[in-house]
Symmetry: C2
Subunit: 218 residues, 2 copies
DNA sequence: TCTTTCCGGGACTATTTGGTCCTCGCTGTG
DNA sequence: CACAGCGAGGACCAAATAGTCCCGGAAAGA
């Protein structure tokens, strides 16, 4: 924020390939570090060292730590949404939802449930601290939810889902189960709670299927 | 530190009424501040000022900030469990679960979804930072879950719940929905997602009821 | 009452960390 | 080839914050 507000066409800010790469390196390093340590527990010196840059570069590309964090919220949000689009954009059946679930569980099990969701943890840490970040995160969650509910709408339109199913509520419930699952899995250092939570949400969605294909997952 | 390293059983640190009160005041203040600002964003000076004590008292009662935080984890865990016992210990029917849900939603709606769950937010902030705190929080979540699953067991034993219902899994799912609901509600500054999430979990439990009393809530 | 023990207050220190600034050197262009 | 502009490096500064220490005074026991 603060970059694209006026942007006089003639007075173009620097556009160097190197500069762009540096900025990217900083964001990438901040993303990595703040994912495992949390936002507040990560210092700018950590970021500087991990990104192989210098203090002046940090402050050349970002006004202060708050702005860096906000940009990270955008950055990470874009990453997550991109990943989720891949898994949800073509969603048309319940089995697609199961595949989506499996991918998330598998990814999280790689670190034994640690670290949780990149967006969720930021939401907890920043919501009571940076109103702007909170708003962006809320927006991102909404977009994420829409990806899911759009898929459910398609399922309903194609007759897979009953008419009385409410895609928006189902999507919200699924996301809450996912976030809560991440949280409990992180606390327990064990993916199991996340699996149980997601299975509950899927079971709930399944109860709205018109023709119960296959058998209950449990 | 330096006090309890040897700790001969006879040489008990004298505990005076005043001292206990001071310690309690510190914990209470830390609890309040760290609930709204988060653990890492709260300084010891904040705690000192809010608790009307002094630096030396902080370090008299707690070795360092980390220990204070760990004690806070215990303190808050005890508070939450006490509250939850009140609502869950006598749980014997689905309507009791609905009452429990309503109480949580109402409490959270008082601050428009802000702040989230005292335990959940600590779990997110501390899990990747303080192994001991993480373990205690995980333990507390487990106890909390047991309160729920015990209630579900009672429901199953009394014939309200079907035999094939798995109280442990249902309890985990319900807790995940609760935590995820807290998280999304906090990000959105709106209780709605929490309600939807809890309703989903309750609906799921309801699908295991033997005699569907009443009609689906939605 | 006298003494010891512990609580209370707050000044002080050291360290961490966010943020500033000056200099050097690369790179592309007239 | 020279110059302008931008990126890189890192020393440096200031504020915040965790942690130390000493002294005064109240309370409990001899």
């Amino acid at each position: 924020m603060g970059d694209e507000q006026v942007a006089p066409p003639s007075k173009q800010r620097r556009i160097s390939q190197r500069g762009i790469a540096t900025r990217e390196r900083i964001l990438e390093a901040a993303n990595r570090l703040m994912f495992v340590r949390g936002v507040n527990a990560t210092t700018l010196d950590d970021v500087r060292e991990a990104s192989q840059t210098s203090k002046s570069q940090l402050y050349h590309h970002f006004a202060d730590k708050q702005e860096l964090v906000r940009e990270l919220v955008k950055y990470r949000g874009a990453l997550v949404l991109q990943r989720e689009r891949g898994g949800l954009e073509r969603l048309r059946s319940f089995s697609g939802l199961v595949r989506w679930r499996n991918a998330l569980v598998q990814a999280n099990s790689l670190n034994n449930g640690k670290y949780g969701c990149g967006l969720g943890s930021m939401a907890v840490e920043l919501s009571d601290q940076d109103e702007q970040a909170r708003a962006m995160l809320s927006e991102t969650f909404a977009t994420w939810g829409k990806l899911i509910s759009d898929g459910l709408h398609r399922m309903r339109d194609s007759g897979a889902l009953r008419e009385d199913a409410d895609p928006e509520k189902l999507a919200t419930g699924l996301m809450a189960a996912l976030q809560g699952g991440y949280l409990l899995a992180n606390a327990a250092h064990n993916v199991a709670p996340m699996e149980v939570a997601l299975d509950m949400a899927l079971e709930h969605i399944k109860s709205f299927l018109l023709e119960p294909s296959g058998e209950p997952t449990r």
